[in-house]
Amino acid sequence: MKMTPNRRHVLGGLAASVAAPAILTSGRAYAQTPTIKVGHVSPRTGPLAGFAEADDFVLEGIQAALSGGVENNGKSYNIEIISKDSQSNPNRAAEVAADLILGDEVDIMVAASTPDTTNPVSDQAEINEVPCITTDCPWQPYFFGRNGNPAEGFDFTYHFFWGLEDVIGNFLDLWGSSGAAQNIGGLFPNDADGNAWGDPELGFPKPLSEAGYTLTDPGRYQPLNDDFSNYIAAFKDAGCEIITGNMIPPDFATFWAQAAQQNFRPKVVTIGKALLFPSVIESLGDRGDGLTSEVWWSPNHPFNSSLTGDSAGDLANGYTAATGRPWTQPIGFKHALFEVVRDVVSRAADLDDPMAIVDAIKSTNMSTIVGDVNFGAGPVPNVTKTPLVAGQWQKTGDAMELVITNNAAAPNIPVGGELKLLS
């Protein structure tokens, strides 16, 4: 059938569109199954895209698990997730968050992956008074990066992850068990993470000297550095046997190749951020064997999803089976984020009232696939911590595997092997 616009169609259409608002204003109260909209911001593209590579897989699983709706006060609600890309850019993240809040009128905001995503989204949610839950960013850059005051906290925005003190504790545990000389070389870039880690008061230097370590910290380099020869010379002079820092993968690869070229062979290399993803370790070849890093989540974590009942291993294997790619640590946290959302939606006293949703978030106390999330027990208001351990990339057969070697901070997470020295 061919549609040619004629006078009747046009008039009919006009009449319908004029009448539409009157007929369609039924809204939530009258609909069969009302819908709760959840806005989700994550860096799908750009330099941080690695953090969001499992988004499609995780969201599909969540949507399947929530397809039956969520019960709240004896009534079933649909949960609709609207996902937007931050392009790894904080300004863009704020823009799409505002879009989700003002355009799509979402009831709950969620975001994950580094301060560049969590902070702008949380700020937008706070200004516009929309309940917001975030994860996957150490809590100090989240809380203090947003000028949070520990005495007051925030009204609408909540965050779960670990903090710098956990990284430091785990690294000290790992180095203590290695038997290497207490001489450490520090590689901290001139970016938000590097400055936080290298900060003399709040970062690594103070706890390291308290624990009896000597830190050689030549200074802050600019990310995407092409030459580390001065660092290597300084570390050699100081006789460093342990190297630590917070680097991006290209910088670490440059440093690690130059270290070998200049005959610098430390015994333990523990780097934050750069060594999180299996793909990075694979790209280093045999030189990736034995590097150590913090572990936020692994398939061996003894936790189950409150949504699907799957264990951490099931979720990670599911990802590998669906995509043919190795598991990554953000998978668990992205899943847990929606576990919390479902829990909040089921408990809120009144889903039409943002304050009631905030109250539900505040009283969250549940077990997720990344551990317990309890906003009543955090270091500062609005923040709660998940367990952190330390591990080593070890070659088993042809593949590199992240083996948990030290768990003093979270003894319920089993150790998978012994720490091996690099040289």
Partner: protein, 287 residues
């Protein structure tokens, strides 16, 4: 000894910058085109090298035999198909088009290869070193420097000893009169871009062996290329090598004082040259 070591390491680093810059210098010299997408083309070459080494199981340097001609082909098509249409009296359109190209390349690479950092495995050469008079020098940086010198010498030879080079120079001097003399400007520009991207292929492979790369790292590599070109003098190829070395040495000496000064020292060297000799240290013969 530390200072000598810093200077030597800086010189070797300069070889890498000169390789990044050689293609830019060539394109600018021939057609006054500022190619914003140059850094992303280097990354594209690195990814092509990666695909070739993975698919055929060959050494990255052998992969150059495939990647360099492929990049040259892309360059010719790119120039004749798109960039030639933007060249004219106004320098803004080509700038904007290459900027757009840079965005497109980054996202296409992200779509095709994902954001995972990749690296090419060149075997023992990556970590091998040779002792030279009390210094330990990496074989790969030495090789990079030697390749940079060879590439510049090769380009110089093409420019001043071949008929293609004569066509480049003629078109660069006055493209209208070159047209009257029977040179096809569009073709000459296409050949120049092909040559520039063949050099880019070499830079890309060396980058991919030296460190890991992902689709977004191209832009950061661009600025050193530009600075090397400006320091050395626009359009002068040996000047570009000198510019790269000056930049590299300034950076390592700055870093010797304080690592935070590494980039700053390079930029200051660049600013000083710009303030004292805006035309660069070794400008092309004035016309």
């Amino acid at each position: 000894m530390d200072w000598i070591s810093a200077i030597v390491q800086g010189t070797l680093l300069g070889g890498l910058y000169a390789l990044f810059a050689a293609g830019l210098s060539l394109i600018f010299g021939v057609m006054r085109l500022v190619n914003i997408a140059h850094g992303d083309l280097i990354v594209l070459a690195a990814y092509m090298g990666l695909s070739t080494t993975v698919m055929l199981g060959i050494h990255p340097f052998v992969a150059l035999l495939i990647v360099a001609p492929a990049m040259a082909g892309i360059g010719y098509v790119l120039q004749r198909g798109i960039l030639n249409r933007t060249l004219g009296d106004d320098i803004l359109p080509p700038l904007l088009v290459t900027f757009g190209l840079s965005v497109i390349l980054q996202n296409a690479l992200l779509e095709a290869y994902s954001a995972d950092p990749q690296k090419m495995n060149a075997g023992v050469i990556e970590t091998a070193s040779v002792p030279v008079g009390g210094l330990t020098l990496g074989v790969l940086p030495l090789l990079t420097f030697a390749i940079a010198v060879a590439v510049i010498a090769g380009l110089q030879f093409i420019f001043y000893r071949t008929s293609l080079g004569r066509a480049f120079r003629a078109t660069s001097d006055n493209s209208d009169i070159a047209q009257l003399m029977g040179l096809n400007k569009a073709h000459v520009f296409g050949m120049a871009m092909a040559l520039a991207l063949a050099v880019t292929a070499i830079a890309g492979i060396l980058l991919g062996v030296r460190t890991s790369f992902d689709p977004s790292v191209g832009g950061a590599r661009l600025i050193f290329g530009f600075e090397a070109v400006i320091i050395g003098g626009l359009g002068n190829l040996w000047g570009t090598l000198a510019g790269g070395v000056i930049l590299g040495v300034a950076q390592t000496l700055g870093a010797k004082i304080d690592p935070g000064w590494q980039l700053l020292a390079g930029h200051i060297a660049f600013l000083v040259v710009l303030a004292v000799r805006p035309q660069g240290l070794f400008p092309r013969v004035a016309h």
